[in-house]
Each structure stands twice: as structure tokens, then as C-alpha cells.
Symmetry: C2
């Protein structure tokens, strides 16, 4: 009766579960600090959701009044920007496992795969923060979520350029890659959120009501079990490989034409 299928491991999820340690010690000795505030905000959102995060509650989770936060953070909006930055930044500082060390890599495909898994690990570790990463207006118009830092985009473009991509192809790859990551990961975390919120309100006769509703939708009724299965990891892998194949095709036929339109989308 559960929706998740445990037939295969999911390395990104494993990394998540491994990383959840030492969450909260109540009423700290009040060594307030911008980084401590941002981390507390991340923990709070993970635990209670974005809507529940208020300055007063965040303050009291740190054993402090709301106004104390304003010494270190200009306001709530900037706090959220800081949360996004800090979460995205965890891409870099966790080469401890076997994944996601962006610094050195074996070829551009390896780089893109590591980067994708790194972002997916972040999304799964902070499903309630990810919509923020996805929808907050970027610093520059061409910094596209979820690759939300100049450093990251620079690294992306540099890697592809070194590998022989033309500037046009590298930029097109950047857009296609962003679009793929954003779509897949946002759907995945939305699904997690939906499951959680459904558990919150059992509604009693949900079972009966569901079957009644589906009577008029024969295709839905027939495929309901399939629709409920979670194959996110496999789908992620396959979509990613498909994208890499497209990029490879573009790269190998790059010498012939330097037309400016439609290299890839």
C-alpha cells in the first residue's frame, strides 16, 4: 500500500539520510551569527515548511527575540536569498563521498553527471527549500535556476569550453541542462510535498472518494497503480543520459557548421 518502491538503491537519497545529524540544541548560549541564523532557517524550513518560517519563530528557535536577527540580516527577503545561497553552496564542500567533486573530473560528461547528482542530492535533502531555489528571481537574468551562482555557471561554461564546445553550443547546453534539472527536481520535491500533505489530512473516507472520482476517468483508473509508482531515480538517470547524448552529437558535428540558430534546445 506504500507508494515508494524500494527495489533499487538511490545514492542521492542515501547521501541525504547519512547527512542528517545533530539537528537542534534548544536555547543556545546566544552566540548569534549570520551563518548560524541561515542554518537555523534552513533547519526550520526543512522541519516545518517555508510558510511557517517567521522572524519571531526563527528567533525563538535560536533562543532570541525576532529583532535580534536584524543585526545580521537586512530583512526576511534577504534571509531567504541567503538560505538559497547557503544551500546551493553545499555543492562544493562535500567531496567526502564518491560523488560530486566539481573541481576535478574525468571529462565533461562526468562533470555534468556529478553536478546533476549533486543538485539532486540538495533537492532531496531540502525538499521544502528547493522551490525557493527554483523560483526566486536570479541575480542576473541569465543565471538560471537551479544553477544559481556566477561561480557555478562559470565552472559549467569553462568545462564545456575546454572540452571543445563552441560558445554557442556551451550556452545552449547550459540552458537545456538547467531546464532539465529544474523540471525534474521540482517535480520530484513537489511529489514529496504532496505525499506529506496528504498524510496530514487523512480525511477519513479518502479511499472511497478517490474511487468514486476516478469512475469518469477510465484511463486514470486503469493506470492508477503505475501513476503512483516512484521511478524518479531511474527517470532522472535516463533523461540525463539522453541529454548527454544530444550534447555529444552537437559536439561531434560542431566543426561543420557555425550557424547561430537551433544548435540545441
Amino acid at each position: 500500500m506504500t507508494t515508494t518502491s524500494d527495489d533499487g538503491r538511490d545514492p542521492d537519497l542515501v547521501a541525504v539520510q547519512k547527512g542528517s545529524a545533530a539537528a537542534s540544541e534548544l536555547t543556545r548560549p546566544s552566540g548569534l551569527d549570520r551563518e548560524r541564523i541561515l542554518q537555523a532557517a534552513i533547519d526550520f524550513i526543512d522541519e516545518s515548511g517555508l510558510a511557517a518560517l517567521t522572524m519571531r519563530r526563527l528567533g525563538s528557535s535560536l533562543g532570541v527575540e525576532a529583532m535580534a536577527l536584524y543585526r545580521y540580516v537586512p530583512g526576511r527577503e534577504d534571509l531567504l536569498d541567503g538560505v538559497v545561497d547557503r544551500v546551493v553552496e553545499t555543492l562544493w564542500d562535500d567531496e567526502d563521498g564518491d560523488d560530486v567533486y566539481i573541481g576535478d573530473h574525468a571529462g565533461w560528461q562526468d562533470y555534468l553527471v556529478r553536478l546533476a547528482h549533486g543538485m539532486r542530492r540538495i533537492a532531496l535533502a531540502h525538499p521544502a527549500v528547493f522551490p525557493l531555489i527554483a523560483s526566486r528571481p536570479p541575480a542576473a537574468p541569465w543565471v538560471r535556476p537551479p544553477l544559481r551562482s556566477l561561480r557555478l555557471v562559470e565552472s559549467f561554461l569553462g568545462t564545456l569550453s575546454e572540452a571543445g564546445f563552441s560558445d554557442q553550443a556551451a550556452v545552449a547546453a547550459y540552458r537545456a541542462y538547467s531546464s532539465f534539472l529544474l523540471g525534474h527536481l521540482l517535480l520530484e520535491v513537489t511529489q514529496i510535498g504532496a505525499q506529506v500533505s496528504l498524510l496530514d489530512q487523512p480525511e477519513g473516507d479518502a479511499q472511497a472518494q478517490r474511487e468514486t472520482d476516478l469512475a469518469e476517468y477510465p484511463n486514470l483508473a486503469r493506470t492508477e497503480q503505475l501513476l503512483g509508482q516512484d521511478k524518479s531515480a531511474a527517470e532522472f538517470e535516463e533523461s540525463l543520459e539522453n541529454l548527454l547524448d544530444r550534447l555529444e552529437r552537437v559536439l561531434h558535428q560542431a566543426k561543420n557548421n557555425d550557424g547561430e540558430v537551433g544548435d540545441l534546445a
Copy 2:
């Protein structure tokens, strides 16, 4: 100095501009009504953004106190759900043009292309509403944004089933298609929003500051012009065609294997 390139027409955008008629007549004769309220909310969000929408302001845009709205809408959250439903519903009732009549179509590819353009037209018509469509928790866990209604999902699955897709393939196609639409369209409207918000705050020396920042990012600096170009329409078309090709491949080799994993992602 502008960011948009006007070298090609964009039918979805044209449809948008054609459809923007007769927005607001101030201080209506107060024939209040749920549909009128929802439409006023949509207009308000389009004009002033989601964050600016409050019950009091929405009421006064209808010439009425905030509490009057509560006769027709249970609360703000339900209002937003209603906005999403109403916007998505415009998919069906606009067969007047040459696009997007989901009812009858010439083959499943034609259906998917029309549906994609229909959703894109909606996203471009209401860029400030689309993030709501993308991120609001769905009614059922397997209703994935942006295809946010049982009717729509039923139509999708039915069309592919009739065309010979197995249930597994149809469901996998549904997920891949949702992911593609969500990623591409959300990026496109986010970019629109970013451009608008940048115009709001010229910041004086933005030009100088930008060039200073980019000094440490040679790849960004070199490709800056390319990054600023808007090729959304062409990229949308190419990604969509690539997805259709993948689906076609799956469909044509469906008879050989009925394995359950990884038909497509």
C-alpha cells in the same frame, strides 16, 4: 541594448498579445461572484505580482471590502487554488485560433504539440501566475504540474493509449512531458520576471558594476552576449521535438519487450 531578439515570430506570444483586452473598469456595480473574483485576482497578479495580492487590495479592486470576498471564497489559499484552476482551464475554451484544440487532433504528436503550445501560451499570458501553477501541491500525488487536472491527465493518457502506447509507456511519457514543460516554462517566466524586476531598480552604475564582477569569470564575460539572447521559442520547439522522437522510438519498439523499468525518462 535590449535583451530580446525580434528576428522571429513567436506564435504563443502573439496569441498572448491578441488576448489582452478590456482589463479593468473601476468600481463595478458590485455584482459579486466567484468567477468575477477569480478573474480579478488573475488580473491583479498579472499586473502587480503575487506578493502584492491581499484580500483587502483584491476587494478594493472590485469596489468592495475584503470581507465581502469570503461569501464566495473560503480563504486566501483556496482563492489561489481557484486562480490556478481557472488559468489552466483556459486551455480548453480557446479553439478560435489555429492552435490548441485538444478535443480533436491529427495523431498523438499533433496532440502533444498543441498541448505544449497551449501551456506555453498560458505561461506567457500569465508569467506571474505560472509559478503558482508550478509549485502549488497537486490534488493527487500523481497529478503533476503543470498538467493540473484529472481531466487533462485523462485526456493525455487516453490519447497515447489510443495511439498504441502501453500503459507503462504512456505513464512514463506523461512524466517526461510534465518535466519538460515545467522546466522550460518555469525558466522562461522566471527570466521574464527577472528582467522586469531589473528594470524596476536601475541602480545607477549597474553597467560598471557588472563588468567589474565579471572580471573573475572569463567564460561568463566572453559569452555574456550569447547568454543574454532569448531563444526560448526555438529551444522549446527543439526540446519538444526531441521528446517526441524519444516517444516515437519507444512506441515503435514496444512490441518486443514488456520490461517494467526504464522504458523512458
